[in-house]
């Protein structure tokens, strides 16, 4: 344990506030992609947010509640993020996007399969349906769910740029992935990107909390059910973040070329999970 006094947990909000006030520097070399990327990134996170059953399964999004859609919308954001990283033409950005794309390519399979496990159990790929039917699963299918969750958690760590994949706090450019891509950003665009990153974290936590452990989630729209659900959600998210925090303070960042093994492991775990279903 690092014996340090952390900042308040509302620090990110004040950061955003500060950034929105600041002026912006934009490189000569940057094209419209650089300028436009933050908006795309941010709105993809919003769009995904619409698809997620956070509190209740009463509102079923039949249009794009499909988990593949979620995954590929995330890919859309990543695509532009990586392009923007190259756009300014600085060496760091390029390497950042190279690493980002490398790992996300490897992560995709694990993510798909971990969620596929659930959707096979639930006989639907729609998130709301999954939540709805994972609640009422027999205890026998707990093992696959757990395995799949482990697989998912690894992906979560990568996608949200946590240890052991990335070090959000570093400022040694050579080691970072996510930060390196957005090195050229400043002002409100940077604010948007940070905000989007925060959204992404929430999204993944929500998925982890509600899809794998959907207990307490409201199945109808009655007020008290929703209140209970809200509480349950907060508790679950707290537990998850606590877990992440403990992990971050207990392990160090891995060497880059050890990460693929980690992602592969998550993929294998989910595969085994699917194998166990029958």
């Amino acid at each position: 344990m690092q014996n340090r006094q952390g900042a308040s947990i509302f620090q990110p909000y004040s950061d955003l506030k500060k950034l929105f006030r600041k002026d912006e520097l934009i490189s000569h070399d940057a094209s419209w992609i650089f300028k436009f990327m933050p908006y795309i990134l941010f709105s993809t996170t919003l769009l995904i947010g619409f698809a997620l059953p956070l509190i209740t399964t009463g509102i079923r999004n039949g249009f794009f509640g499909d988990f593949l859609v979620i995954i590929y919308l995330i890919a859309l954001g990543t695509f532009f993020l990586a392009l923007a990283g190259i756009d300014a033409g600085s060496a760091f950005g390029g390497f950042g996007s190279s690493r980002e794309m490398t790992l996300s390519a490897l992560a995709e399979a694990g993510l798909i399969f971990s969620m596929l496990t659930l959707s096979i159990l639930a006989h639907s790929t729609n998130l709301a349906d999954i939540v709805h039917s994972v609640v009422s699963l027999p205890l026998t299918s707990l093992l696959p769910v757990l395995l799949a969750f482990i697989g998912f958690f690894v992906i979560l760590l990568f996608e949200t740029g946590r240890f052991p994949f990335d070090n959000p706090a570093t400022h040694l450019e050579l080691t970072m992935i996510h930060e390196a891509m957005i090195l050229e950003y400043s002002g409100k665009r940077l604010a948007l990107i940070e905000w989007a990153a925060a959204n992404k974290l929430l999204i993944f936590m929500a998925i982890g909390a509600n899809l794998f452990f959907p207990w307490g989630i409201a199945s109808n729209l009655s007020l008290n059910a929703i209140l209970i659900a809200l509480g349950a959600f907060l508790v679950k998210v707290l537990i998850l973040s606590a877990g992440i925090a403990i992990l971050e303070s207990s392990i160090a960042k891995y060497r880059f070329f050890r990460l693929p093994d980690l992602l592969l492991t998550s993929f294998i775990l989910s595969m085994i999970a699917i194998g166990l279903i029958f």
Binding site: R21, K22, D23, E24, L25, I26, H28, D29, S31, W32, I33, Y39, S43, L46, L47, F50, G62, F63, F64, D66, L68, V69, Y72, L73, A75, L76, F79, A82, L83, I86, A88, G89, S90, A91, G94, S97, S98, M101, T102, A105, L106, A107, E108, A109, F113, L116, S119, I120, H123, S124, T125, N126, L183, E184, K188, F257, P260, F267, M271, F278
Partner: protein, 679 residues
Amino acid sequence: MNFAQNTFLIALLLFPAGAITSIAFNKNERLANFTGSLFAVLGSISGIVSAISILFYQGTFSVNMPSTFPILSFALKMDSLSAFFVLVISTIALLASTYGYGYAKHYFGKYNLGNLGFFYNLFIAGMILVVTANNALLFLIVWEIMSLASYFLVIFEKNEKKNIKAGSLYFYMTHAGTAFIILAFLLLYRSTGSLDFEVIRNSINLISPITRDAVFILALIGFGTKAGIIPFHIWLPSAHPAAPSHVSALMSGVMIKTGIFMMIRIFLDIFPGGPIWWGITILIIGAISSILGVLYALAEHDIKKLLAYHSIENIGIILLGLGSALTFNSLGLHSFAILSIVAALFHTLNHAVFKALLFMGAGSVISKTHTKNIEEYGGIIKYMPYTALFFLIGSLAISAIPPFNGFASEWITFQSLFAGIRSVGSVAEWAFMIAAGSLALTGGLACACFVKVFGITFLARPRRENIKQITESSFSLVFSMAILALLTLILGVFSGSVSATLSRIANSVMAFRGEVVISNVHTSAIRTGDGFASVSLPSIFLIFGILLALTFIIFKFIPKKQRERKVITWDCGTNLGPRMEITATGFSRSIITIFADILKPSKEVKTTFHEENSNYFPKANTVNLGTAEIYRSYIYEPLHKLMTKISSYAGIWQNGNVNAYILYIFIILIILLIVGAVK
């Protein structure tokens, strides 16, 4: 369906007309170019018209003219499946022709435009006939004409030695493939006594299972060679880049699909349903081709070669659909089979569109920069904005990013694989699992690859001075690309209705299996038959658009008082040169290192120093990553060596000694006399 028939025959007249006129005018290259393109455009249009009238007015037509040769008859038949392929071919051909009209201008004075027009029209006509021929011999003839024409198009820029080599390799491979096809058809002829596809289909129960398996293997190799499945793909990455870009668009987007067409025709339409291992074999081949294809693409720096490798990848994806269709078919799960056929057909269509778009984009860049090496590009988006935009759209589509069409078809493919995982037995289940995993991996790697291509080509600073002088391409190029870009979006957003139409085609293919299943055909959403999954791309498109607009407006205009200042990229105090940007090699290096066991990368490092004598201050350090051509060195080279050995051995007997020659005659005489007496 008289109308469709007539328009089709008109198309068949127009292409030869274009060929003849352009060869006739080959002294006047402008005229040759114009007539060649014009007739190709007209022919494609009438092709489209007839295909649509077949497709949406639910009919088929068949023409049967006897020829002066005994076993050959000009039997053409357009059912909905062929109509679909005719539609794809003609659409791409139409845009390729409008593009080519402008693109060919940079050949003026260098090459003979008459030949280009001649073989170009012949090529399109060949492809259209291939998908409509209803007699095996006629099919083989047009198939070979297609190959011949494309061979001449590949070697069109014949002053470059490597194009000639590429063309020859292409023709060797495709001809060898054709030999396999011929053998397959001969086996069918042997059992059914006919070369007419109709007759073969009707007398299918005369064919013994062993013969069927033999035909399956032969046809898989033969058509797989044309489709470019690994390990028969070696011609593809060298031949497609060699051809003029609009021809590459046709070859990569359409021609290789004729192989897929024949696989569907034979394995699903003609054969009522093979054993399960057929489907699994194709699944595995598809998985291998898709992963290896995209990995090799990542290792490439030649932009057209890279796109060619992506064609291998996408053929792999199509085969995943086809393979699952075969598996389901043999298991009797017909609704899933139809879903998988839809996946295959849809991806065929989509790949045709976005691959054509990408090749055209690459072409318009190449025609300005005169190099295919993406390491020499950079920052082109500022000089060719439209090309950049359309190439970006193409990249998004091929990386299966919603709401573009690539996503729709890959989604359906995923669903059919999921269906396999859910509902088939032990071995097949794992095959499907592997296939799904490879598809997921492929998708991710494709994303990475196209971030690389687009980023290195169009973004950041130019890596060569000459980039700074280039300008946007002429109207005909931009126009064609624009249409295709629009198509990628439309096919994505309206994927629901498209897949509905495709499921009709799939039904007609599976029709005589009885039971026809495709549940609620929904035009606003694509969904699997059993309601396992559904997605509505129009809503994604709309809501995403709204959100984007809102975000943009809010964050663009609410905080007014901040200013934006143009500055140079942070350079750590040094001054940034183009050599500080990331290169394509650097970008894909980490992936290549991860997959080193498969790719067997060859790395050569050249370091030059400021002073010759002291090597303390390195000036430049060039790293060149390549991939070993394992197929050449492990399959084709040994084959060639063997042949050389045998034939040099045969040469020994022709030793020039007349006594020996008489001795041969004497020996064969004695042998035959003895044999004759014994028999």
